[in-house]
């Protein structure tokens, strides 16, 4: 049984039956009796003072039930949207968090910022009502350019110089000394392009309020409903936590963008209370482009100091990170604790120093997007390493091997505050080199050249830190929340099992993976295990899904709870078998007395727990349901080697990925099919960043790439077939030995593509995304 559905098996997913038949329940599929519809009125100005807003015409329209402004929410005690991570500047001062009302009150600071909401009987009436809202604005020139934002016209009264914080990590003196005595320094100016996450399901919310009980229910497109509830209760003051139930049903992708608590969900649940009616809102895609948190957007000066033999002696990085107009929920942590800490990469670089200045601009807020800081760090390190190899005439694989942290070095303490537990970086690189046929690359290059094409190969050996933890360390560094995960393993009377998790699946397949773990450990059929997630009314407080944490943190909590179930079951079994705990073995769902033929099955034990006739009630409570909260000791450290081979048409500048190999070490794997799928999707997003995607604001602050006509999403014919494989060094500090796989593809791939492209063109750098025009210009030396 377990061989086909247990840990390590590519079990087909439980969730697929509903998705392939159109029976999924996404938020926009949910309708309530008497439901109203909300539409938001959004700023067309990048920056303006609001002189007045007039909703009277809207209110006079047929079907319009209400029209609210930011002042209405504020008057009702609705608080600002908070940022959950306090980062400190070099001088020890706290970052500056400007006011962020959910609905703008006196100023608007980016195109798309909501300043009014119209609620009506039908969607069309709400749209018409929104059209009828008028406002008088005093437009102010916007601050758009990231490079010059510091010191430009001040956006927020509370934020001098538009600087949120100026953060540092590492040993500046030691790093400067390493540079002073180095044989060679490789330098790059790097722009990490702004991306727009674009989960295929637009954000949506259905808010409900029951006057008789005072209970609120919010269906919403969230990756972490408990966190949404906490923020809406404790910070935004919508309702007491116990009076607010947040349900994230089927959610159509997140990639980070659905972690955050946004204006619209907040206003919808508040207005549902005001009107005591269900209210539905769904973003149009245009609204998603304008008002979902964007990702990346760094400008960096990066330098790597080396000895003549290629040994890395120092790394110095100075980054300006764009926060957008306001601090989104975890914005501050992304370019600091999820970026600077990763700059050691897979290497023994002894001295590292990083400075990050985060600034505000009149653009949409920027926050975590798949990888969140780690793709940016990997891009810096791996572009530098490849460039250094070229400058020193070294093979890109050799220079990496020379500098790899070796298997015997673990646990390895980096100069940037992390302790890697395990890894074998050369094992992944070796396998990737074999799979891509590196030895034959010269022949393929010659053959491309014979066909008038330029061919290049690029490496990227990335590391990531997943399962953000432990809570106490993170809290001491400014995190406003714990980072554990909850689990409950509830055994039914007949021995079937419900597993409640605080994680949330929005494509990751937890209903399958988590069921595999529990069925394997309890020795019961996979079909008899159901995973429940996404509902604050059904599972204990948990942190949801982000940062490749679900298996390593949530899965570990499930293991702990399952172990408690087994421990109690063993006591019950010992009683029923008239033996002692020590003499009872448990294997494949059966308890048996050592060296005897006496045995009892898990469902029989479960039945006895609920029908406690033959049961030690003097020692044990009846029932069989156990909870666990798991707080990791450390991050996990997935790592791998990605190698990309591109062919460029010099006539058109078009880049084709002709070979892509990803070899990743995710530690132990529960479902290889799901893991490969996660890698594929991540690769597409990383390749998308390299070649296609770019969120562009023009000089005035208008979003130029505000639709699928303008923002180039990766399509099927843009993508290659991927070759993915794995190596395994188990994580040493969680019970599954797992490291997490959700973001690796997006973290490793971008640098591999750009290293391949610069190799093909024989240039130092090409800006991302490397569109045909950009590539053609690079070839022309522009």
């Amino acid at each position: 049984m377990t061989s086909e559905t247990g840990i390590g098996a590519s079990v087909k997913r439980k969730e697929d039956a509903r998705f392939i038949t159109g029976a999924g329940h996404y938020t926009d599929d949910i309708n309530q009796p008497g439901q109203l519809y909300a539409v938001f009125v959004r700023s067309m100005y990048p920056r303006a003072e609001i002189r007045s807003i007039d909703v009277s015409s809207a209110l006079a329209m047929e079907g319009v039930m209400a029209a609210y402004t930011g002042a209405d929410l504020a008057a009702d005690g609705i608080g600002d949207l908070p940022c959950g991570w306090m980062v400190k500047s070099k001088d020890g001062s706290d970052m500056i968090q400007p006011p962020h009302p959910p609905v703008a009150v006196s100023v608007v600071n980016y195109v798309g910022e909501p300043y009014a909401m119209v609620v009506a009987e039908t969607l069309q009436a709400a749209r018409d009502g929104a059209e009828a809202v008028t406002a008088d604005f005093n437009e102010i020139p916007a601050v758009v350019d990231l490079a010059s934002a510091h010191g430009a016209d001040q956006i927020h009264e509370a934020v001098p110089g538009n600087q949120c914080y100026d953060w540092e990590l590492g040993d500046r003196e030691a790093t400067d000394a390493a540079f002073a005595s180095a044989d060679h320094v490789t330098s790059l100016d790097i722009v990490n392009n702004r991306l727009i996450p674009n989960a295929m399901e637009p954000r949506a919310a259905v808010g409900m309020y029951e006057a008789a009980t005072g209970n609120y229910t919010l269906y919403t497109t969230s990756q972490n409903p408990h966190l949404a509830r906490l923020v809406l209760a404790a910070f935004v003051n919508v309702a007491a936590e116990s009076k607010l139930r947040v349900i994230a049903p089927d959610v159509g992708g997140g990639f980070g963008s659905k972690i955050f608590v946004y204006a619209e969900e907040t206003a919808v649940i508040w207005a549902a209370g005001k009107l005591a009616r269900a209210i539905k809102w769904r973003a149009d895609r245009s609204e998603s482009f304008l008002a979902d948190a964007h990702g990346r957007d760094h400008r960096t000066r990066a330098e790597l100091a080396l000895n003549a033999d290629g040994t890395f002696v120092g790394l110095r990085v100075k980054t300006v990170a764009n926060m957008g107009a306001y601090l989104s929920l975890f914005a501050s942590s992304v370019p600091t604790y999820l970026y600077g800490t990763l700059l050691a990469g897979q290497y023994r670089t002894p001295a590292i120093y990083v400075e990050v200045q985060s600034v505000f601009t009149n653009t949409a807020p920027v926050d975590a997007y798949r990888g969140a800081g780690r793709p940016e760090a990997t891009y810096v390190v791996e572009r530098l390493v490849e460039t250094a190899a070229r400058e020193l005439g070294k093979d890109p694989a050799d220079i990496r091997r020379l500098n790899f942290i070796q298997p015997e070095d673990f646990p390895y303490e980096t100069p940037v505050a992390l302790t890697y537990d395990t890894g074998d970086y050369d094992a992944s690189l070796k396998k990737a080199i074999e799979l891509i046929g590196y030895d034959d690359f010269a022949e393929r290059k010659a053959s491309s050249e014979a066909n008038g094409k330029k061919r290049g190969i690029g490496f990227s050996c990335y590391i990531e830190a997943c399962g953000l933890a432990p809570s106490q360390v993170a809290i001491s560094l400014g995190a406003g929340v714990g980072l554990f995960e909850s689990a409950e393993v509830r055994v039914d009377v007949t021995g079937s099992v419900s597993v409640m998790t605080g994680c949330h699946s929005h494509g990751q397949g937890h209903e399958t993976t988590f069921a595999q773990i529990v069925s394997d450990k309890l020795g019961i059929p996979f079909e008899n295990v159901d995973v429940v997630h996404g509902d604050t009314g059904r599972s204990d407080y948990g942190l949801g899904t982000y940062g490749s944490r679900s298996l390593v943190v949530g899965g570990s909590a499930i293991v702990k709870a399952t172990d408690k179930v087994i421990a109690k079951s063993r006591k019950i079994a010992a009683h029923m078998l008239e033996s002692t705990e020590e003499n009872v073995d448990f294997e494949e769902g059966t308890f048996s007395v050592t060296d005897s033929n006496q045995s009892i099955t898990f469902p029989e034990v479960a039945f006895s727990a609920y029908v406690p006739g033959n049961y030690p009630l003097d020692e044990l409570e009846p029932g069989l349901s156990e909870k666990a909260f798991y707080d990791p000791e450390n991050f996990t450290y997935p790592a791998g080697a990605h190698i990309c081979e591109v062919e460029v048409d010099p006539e058109t500048g078009k880049v084709e990925i002709v070979n892509f190999v990803a070899v990743d070490d995710f530690g132990e794997i529960i479902n290889p099919m799901i893991v490969a799928g996660q890698v594929h999707g991540g690769l597409a997003q990383g390749i998308g960043q390299a070649l296609l995607e770019h969120g562009i604001y023009d000089e005035s602050g208008q979003l130029v790439t505000g639709s699928y006509m303008d923002y180039t999403m990766p399509r099927a014919d843009d993508m290659p077939n991927f070759v993915v494989d794995t190596t395994v060094t188990p994580c040493t500090h969680n019970p599954l030995g797992a490291k997490g796989c959700g973001e690796a593809g997006a973290i490793g791939s971008t640098a591999a593509v750009m290293n391949a492209l610069t190799d093909a063109l024989g240039v130092v750098d090409v800006p991302m995304p490397a569109t045909p025009e950009t590539v053609w210009r690079a070839m022309e030396g522009e």
């Binding site: 087909k12 997913r13 969730e15 697929d16 039956a17 509903r18 998705f19 392939i20 038949t21 159109g22 029976a23 999924g24 329940h25 996404y26 926009d28 599929d29 069309q124 674009n198 989960a199 295929m200 399901e201 637009p202 089927d250 959610v251 159509g252 992708g253 990639f255 769904r282 149009d284 895609r285 245009s286 929005h506 494509g507 990751q508 397949g509 099919m673 799901i674 490969a676 799928g677 996660q678 594929h680 999707g681 991540g682 690769l683 597409a684 997003q685 639709s707 699928y708 006509m709 999403m713 990766p714 399509r715 099927a716 014919d717 993508m719 077939n721 991927f722 593809g745």
Partner: protein
């Protein structure tokens, strides 16, 4: 205006606003919520259905244009117990993750195969370029369509 259309084998006559879109009728009036709305520019393909046997993006068709049409949605091609070969191939090949693009992707893929031209990897990629997926990187979707082609 009053329109009559056959959806998944059942005839419906309904009064609709002149400016309503076919996808709105399918989702809101007929409660067939498997057909999704993922964009507002006819670019993502999440709303793809079959109209008179050919795949169309139902966000780009006025309800009035569907008067008299024979419509098939994701709910009409198979059931959990009797899946269409394309549905089966999507499950077998892990060609879906969050599932949001999946109904549109399956409807497009069925039409692509039913057009009858033998498909290879390249032509599947080109044939599905009107449907966006953010989760799978398309790798397993392409595998699934090639797999289904042999079984349809």
């Amino acid at each position: 205006m009053e329109i009559s259309l056959t959806v998944n084998g059942t005839e419906h006559t309904t009064d609709v606003p002149d400016n309503s879109l076919l996808v709105e009728i399918i989702r809101e009036r007929l409660n067939l919520t498997g057909t999704h709305v993922g964009c507002d520019t006819s670019q993502c393909g999440a709303c793809t259905i079959h109209m008179n046997g050919r795949s169309v993006k139902s966000c780009t068709v006025l309800a009035g244009q569907a008067d008299g049409a024979d419509i098939t949605t994701i709910e009409g091609i198979g059931t959990v117990d009797a899946l269409h070969p394309m549905q089966e191939a999507f499950r077998e090949n892990h060609a879906l993750q969050c599932g949001f693009c999946t109904p549109g992707m399956i409807m497009s893929a069925i039409d692509l195969v039913e057009k009858g031209k033998p498909l290879d990897e390249r032509s599947v990629r080109e044939g599905l370029e009107g449907n966006l997926c953010r989760c799978t990187g398309y790798h397993n979707i392409v595998k699934a369509v090639l797999d289904a082609q042999d079984k349809m």
